[in-house]
Symmetry: C2
Subunit: 405 residues, 2 copies
């Protein structure tokens, strides 16, 4: 049996779980007799291009790596050219050959899977070419061909907990107020659904859960807020950053307001700030907008144990796919069916079904007032946020992260 090197890289935006997938890859590769060396490519495909790698063959801090947020190997936003005669491909080929790479695993989201797709196409039919396999990652939960994506569960857990705390915070004054919480997810409303969990699982708030999949009508929204004010003083709205009006234009895009700052630039205020000003102007009560920002993707201190375990498992499954020679495929998480208990298992999908494509919240879930829809969403979501992940922290809350220099 010829032994080969396994090269692993991370790409795209961070999450609390992408290092758990890296840990899963390392753990499985360490147990595979076919793998003689495990290399980590720094900054995604750029590490392969510049031969900037670190040796992970004997790396042992797997549990600590699982609990480390963002990307221990670094990331990139690099799109491979469409033309395989571009010298970049020959450079990567040479480097991988020199490193003895037989397996190249790439962890990332929709855009990063474009890299896996192109590289596996480039290598197709070439004798002795490395097997190229994709591993999913995105807090957005918008990759096709899977039940859910690694990283989503932890972001969802953070959002549900945070919105629950914000609801308490907004409840204290006996005055009418509207609090608008802007959530990531430009096209897909999965994270906004998670922020809505305190209501979807039986509470009364957040009062409004606004998905980007449905056209947003300002007048309808204002009217609904006015009606709701008859029943509650502290209205809480969770809204996707990517909602659009009936014409398909993003709501609150800077271009719409035409406002310009001291530097002469258009204000690119987000939808939260836009709705804040809209409610202030049209209703006139106390309004505040909150952008949850990067915290929703890096808050490892509330990572979901289920998410980290599944992310680890999908990494290990990617190694199995690579050893089987499944080039051009992506490992995915699927949901077991039948006995009513949640079970996940790992499978694979053609990378072409994932690269550059998005999976949206299904239309049957748009009716968020419907108890049977609420139950379906909870049945889907709750298993993904289950359990507090183990923490490597001192008594002051400071984390002992894995950091590669």
């Amino acid at each position: 049996m010829e032994k080969k090197s396994l090269l692993i890289a991370q790409s795209g935006g961070p999450s609390a779980a992408i290092n758990a997938t890296l840990a899963g890859v390392i753990a499985a590769a360490q147990k595979s007799p076919e793998v003689d060396r495990i290399l980590g490519s720094r900054h995604g495909i750029e590490g392969a291009l510049h031969k900037n790698c670190i040796d992970l063959t004997d790396f042992s801090e797997l549990e600590k790596l699982k609990a480390t947020p963002a990307m221990a190997l670094g990331s990139c936003r690099f799109k491979l050219p469409g033309d395989f005669s571009d010298p970049i491909y020959e450079q990567i080929r040479q480097n991988l050959e020199e490193l003895g790479v037989g397996y190249f695993l790439y962890i990332g989201g929709n855009d990063s899977m474009d890299t896996v797709s192109k590289l596996s196409d480039y290598y197709a039919g070439k004798p002795g070419a490395p097997v190229v396999v994709g591993l999913p990652k995105t807090i957005d939960n918008d990759l096709p061909a899977c039940d859910h994506t690694p990283g989503y569960g932890s972001a969802a857990r953070y959002l549900a907990m945070t919105v629950e705390e914000l609801i308490r915070d907004t409840a204290i004054y006996a005055l009418p107020s509207v609090t608008i919480v802007e959530i990531m997810g430009r096209d897909a409303g999965w994270l906004t659904l998670a922020a809505g969990l305190p209501r979807l699982r039986g509470g009364t708030k957040p009062d409004f859960i606004i998905l980007p999949e449905k056209p947003f009508d300002e007048d309808d929204f204002l009217e609904a807020v006015r009606r709701r004010m008859a029943d509650t003083h502290n209205i809480v709205v969770v809204v996707s950053e990517g909602i659009r009006d009936h014409s398909g234009a993003y709501v609150g895009a800077g271009a719409k307001s035409g406002a310009v700052d001291t530097f002469g630039h258009l204000y690119l205020s987000g939808v939260g700030k836009y709705l804040e000003r809209l409610v202030k102007e049209k209703i006139g009560c106390k309004v505040r907008s909150i952008e949850v920002n990067l915290m929703q993707r890096c808050a490892s201190h509330v990572a979901s144990q289920a998410d980290l375990e599944e992310s680890f498992a999908v990494g290990a499954h990617g190694v199995r796919l690579a050893l089987e020679g499944a080039s051009g495929r992506m490992a995915v998480i699927l949901r077991g069916e039948g006995d009513g208990e949640y079970r996940f298992y790992c499978g694979s999908a053609d990378i072409k079904a994932c690269a550059n494509q998005e999976r949206l919240v299904p239309e049957k879930w748009f009716d968020l007032e419907n108890p049977s829809v609420q139950k379906e969403i909870c049945d889907y979501l709750l298993p993904l946020i289950k359990g507090a992940a183990p923490q490597f922290r001192d008594e002051y809350g400071f984390a002992d992260y894995v950091i590669f220099d």
Copy 2:
């Protein structure tokens, strides 16, 4: 011994620890034979004014109340008039008499202590008048006459952990970037110091810790950022929302940019957004600003155990002060000295020394590059963020809060 009712209220902005102080009051009052009834005033002084109270005499969920963020009794932003002949005073006097109130405890920050000060002055010399005692609360840590304030430790713990996670998040790309984190504290930099803990305790980031106590110079800042870029690619800045320029004007106040939105209103963008645009314009690298917003004051899921214990203790001490007849005084947390080990104890201060006044970060701590200053700050801060507080949460992270209807 004549038994009397004890009335307790909460006022001002929320924190993760103000309910712990409420729990401390209830626990101590339940053990006091002088107290026959414990009443909770809804929405601060407004509950006393409108006789809107709930009976807490037999309330038993003290541990759960300690872990509940924001204000279980509700809050108000109500300033008592300066003229004691205003009928509002007679209304409160009548209500408290009818309720048999002998002790009135008021939990709040600088502004709320104005209410305690006025009420105790109003009652001064009146026979049979209730004893009015203040209990401190503010995440800002800016009350005079104490070592630190209840609520600060939990906010500080949240900020230190969150900035540590944000640092990981910003480190992934091999491109120059500046991330600006805007922290609460309009005049006092205590929370910004806490956000700076990852560096103050020996790390390299955040690269800049900008306090509101020192005048801010844009050119000096830009020059320092440019210099720092030679050594690191991901610059992280933590900055107080209230920094001012040499003329004393708030940096980034909307009025300065003159920008107007669709509604014709001035943009009141915060200092984070302002510095983001400044760096973008003058340096031109990738920039992002993050407003930590309400999360820093309501994130009970990372409350500091030390903070909750001390907040509870100060509530109990307030009951002792009330029973001693110390009207017009505020309970405070002080720091034991001598043996090198951190110890806190409760004392009291004249309410006049606290109401409407602020305690700032001392000038001797401005030199944040100085190792001995860093050590002093850590010695001060670390005991306050020590320990993870017990949580009342299910496996999905949802909290079982105390909510009074």
